[in-house]
Amino acid sequence: MSGSWIPVRIETEWLLLEAALIQEILGTEPWLAIPHTRSELPGVLAWRGRAVPLLDLAAVFGLSPLPPQSYRPRALVAQTERGFVAIPVDEAREVHALEPHRIRSAHAVEKPFSPSEAVLDGIVMAVLDLSALVFALTAGSTASGA
């Protein structure tokens, strides 16, 4: 795998998201919790006149899920095959172009939807397969706006 990647941090976890999927990086945006949904998709976020499902990676990675009426400093709007999702993160960094050799398979504990990893700025970051994640989460349903 090669290309441009955006490092994000959720609590203590650093992840690399594929920059081509990211449509826009938002600041602190309010979101609307939808009752009786999965914890990974707790609600929706208004973006450019459409309701974008909120993907809580903390819930995906076994961290503290984002409770309703709470926010993270950044929200990345990504477009997958299954539609747009908004991913709240605690920190996002600029796009990094990584040569393919810098991305290697995860040799330690494998994280969900992160078969590989890369070291950036001295930090081991899991490369998240966002499309696979979204697909997995939206299996049997369709993502909004797609």
Partner: protein, 686 residues
């Protein structure tokens, strides 16, 4: 209306004028021989008026000083007024007596001169009248002095007494010259003797002159008649017979001649006859020659002429050249008589005055000896010469002296301390003496008893005052010590007060500084809050910059290689935003720390403020209490000083009391000794 002294004197002398004036005028006219002439009445009446005017004016002027004295109220009478009034009254009898006599003499003398010189043609002037008038005037002078001098003295005696009493009552010294009663009596006696004597001498002189004149007239008429008788025959006998007759009839003093109707004179005288030289005599002879009367006489002062008709043609004339005069024997006798009276009267007056004033002088010397020298015990009994008023006065004076000697003896005995003496005699003075003696005995007895009680009481007071003085001295020392302690306490309180004042000042300054500090910290906190807001904006801007950088980076990545540079810029920009955010965070943390520190400082300052307030309140309370303590201490100190002063005064007073008590006891003992010197009757002493 009350009459003044001048009015009374004037009325008295005017009454005398009314009584004696007409009599004297009549007597004067009779004596001089002018009683039948109205002009003489008028002139002498005017003389009386002139005399009254003169002495009235003089009396008024002399009594003016006394009238001023009498007119003023007692309070307004000065010493000068009193002395002047008294001096005028003292000199008045002599002055007025002399002036009164001269007024009489002047008035009648002036009237006589006017009468005889101016109106002599209408009033017959007898021969030698002037000498008689002169004697009369002298007699009038002495006579008027004889009653004017004593009468004015008698009239003004009451006024002189008033002046003397007023001066004595008011302590005014009167300047009265010593007078002699003998001199006054002698003057009056001389005047009394010489006045009537001179009057009688004038009367005798006039009568002698009248007798001489009658004698001259008779002699010359007789000579003329005898010549006429003899001449009748001689005329028939021829000229030789006539000449012989005339020679026979003529003498040294008598001239005889015959005159005919034509005026031819036949006389014995060889020279010119009186008809040749005396024209008035010649006219008189001519006029008489024609008259039918047989004999006429013409009287002159120096000669007398008589004409006796011989026949129808001839008349015999005799001229007697003999002046009218009193006989030399009478003048000599009268002069000797007047001289004898002038000598005899003063001698008699002096003898009389000495006879009267001698016993009075003895009385005066005795009274002066008693009053001025106090010689009462050596005073002998004055002799009583006669049982007249002076004798009775001497006798009563002797009785008075005996009484005074008895009283003096009693007083001397009392002075020697012998109160047992008895006072004899009756009257107010012995009664007063006896009452005084009785009171003195009672007083001495009471003083004796009182002196014993006084000595005892003085001894007790002395002992008590000694104890009191000792106690008061101890109290005084204690009070002085307390006063010193209170002064020290007051000084300490003053020091504490000053120190607390400093603490209070510092605490108040601290409180003020704390308040300022709180205010500054509040301002700092406010500024920190403001900084936080600004930091929040910066952080927001940094966040947005970071977001923009991220999105820029994202867009640059989409642009491929063309956006590589942009991606680098976006990356730098994001890191810059990140550092800004980190710095903002740090600054915010610092601001937070500052605010926290400010809050902590405010809290600490609040504590300090509370402490300062507490300190201030405590200092104020301490200051108040210290001031109260200081004031109280000072009051107590002052009170202690006052008490110390009072105690010191009490010590002094007690010391004085002790000294006085000691002196009192000494005096009481002396008094008891003195009282024991008095000899009081045993019954009264008991």
């Amino acid at each position: 209306m009350r009459r003044t002294l001048t009015t009374r004197c004037w009325l008295a002398f005017f009454g005398l004028e009314l009584l004696f004036g007409p009599l004297v005028v009549v007597a004067f006219e009779q004596l001089v021989g002018i009683e039948g002439y109205p002009l003489a009445h008028w002139l002498l009446g005017a003389a009386v008026l002139l005399k009254a005017t003169l002495w009235g004016s003089f009396l008024t002027s002399q009594l003016k000083a006394y009238e001023k004295f009498a007119r003023l109220p007692s309070a307004a009478r000065s010493a000068a007024v009193v002395t002047q009034a008294d001096a005028a009254l003292q000199a008045l009898p002599y002055r007025f007596g002399v002036f009164y006599a001269f007024a009489w003499m002047l008035a009648y003398g002036a009237a006589s001169v006017l009468l005889f010189s101016v109106a002599g043609a209408r009033v017959p002037v007898g021969p030698r009248v002037y000498e008689a008038v002169g004697l009369l005037l002298l007699g009038m002078g002495f006579g008027s002095f004889a009653f004017g001098f004593p009468l004015i003295g008698m009239l003004t005696a009451g006024a002189a007494s008033d002046c003397w009493l007023f001066a004595r009552k008011n302590g005014i010294l009167l300047d009265r010259a010593p007078e002699s009663l003998q001199f006054r009596i002698g003057m009056v006696a001389i005047a009394l003797a010489l006045g009537p004597t001179l009057w009688m001498a004038a009367l005798g002189y006039v009568k002698q002159v009248e007798s001489s004149e009658q004698q001259r007239t008779v002699l010359v008429k007789l000579a003329a008649a005898q010549l006429a008788n003899a001449a009748h025959d001689a005329l028939h006998g021829g000229a030789t017979a006539v000449t012989a007759l005339l020679k026979q009839r003529s003498s040294a003093s008598v001239g005889a001649f015959i005159v005919d109707s034509r005026g031819a004179v036949t006389g014995a005288a060889a020279g010119p006859t009186r008809l040749d030289t005396d024209a008035p005599f010649r006219e008189w002879l001519g006029a008489r020659h024609a008259e039918p009367e047989a004999i006429f006489a013409r009287v002159d002062l120096d000669s007398v002429a008589a004409l006796a008709r011989i026949d129808d043609e001839h008349a015999a004339v005799a001229v007697l050249d003999m002046p009218v005069a009193a006989p030399n024997g009478f003048v000599l006798s009268a002069s000797i008589f007047v001289l004898v009276v002038a000598i005899w009267a003063p001698v008699c007056a002096i003898i009389l005055a000495r006879a009267i004033s001698g016993p009075i002088e003895r009385l005066t010397r005795a009274a002066r000896s008693v009053v001025e020298d106090g010689e009462l015990s050596t005073m002998g009994t004055l002799p009583v010469v006669q049982s007249d008023e002076v004798g009775i006065l001497t006798e009563k004076f002797n009785d008075l002296m005996e009484l005074m000697q008895g009283l003096a003896h009693a007083a001397n005995a009392i002075a020697q301390g012998d109160l047992r003496v008895e006072v004899a005699g009756t009257g107010e003075l012995p009664d007063s003496f006896r009452a005084m003696l009785k009171s003195l005995r009672e007083i001495v007895r009471q003083i004796g008893e009182t002196s014993v009680d006084l000595a005892s009481a003085a001894a007790e007071i002395f002992a008590a005052s000694q104890e009191q003085e000792s106690a008061a001295a101890s109290q005084s020392s204690a009070m002085v010590e307390i006063s010193r302690t209170m002064d020290s306490l007051s000084d300490s309180a003053a020091h504490v007060s000053d120190a607390v004042q400093g603490v209070l000042s510092n605490a108040e300054r601290t409180l003020k500084n704390t308040d300022e500090m709180v205010q500054r910290i509040g301002q700092l906190s406010s500024h920190a809050g403001r900084i936080g807001e600004i930091l929040e904006v910066i952080r927001d801007i940094a966040d947005k910059s970071d977001l923009l950088a991220l999105n820029g980076s994202l867009e640059a990545s989409r642009a491929g290689d063309g956006g590589r540079g942009f991606a680098l810029v976006a990356g730098e920009m994001r890191r810059l935003a990140e550092r800004v955010t980190a710095s903002v965070h740090d600054v915010k943390k610092l601001v937070y720390d500052i605010r926290e520190s400010g809050s902590s400082t405010v809290m600490a300052t609040e504590e300090s403020r509370k402490l300062a307030e507490g300190t201030t309140d405590a200092a104020r309370q301490i200051t108040f209490v210290t001031q109260q303590q200081r004031s109280g201490t000072e009051q107590v100190s002052q009170s202690v000083k006052n008490i110390a002063d009072v105690v010191a005064q009490a010590v002094s007073a007690t010391s004085q009391t002790r000294t006085s008590a000691q002196s009192l006891k000494t005096r009481a003992d002396s008094l008891a000794l003195i009282v024991r010197q008095f000899h009081v009757m045993k019954t009264e002493a008991a």
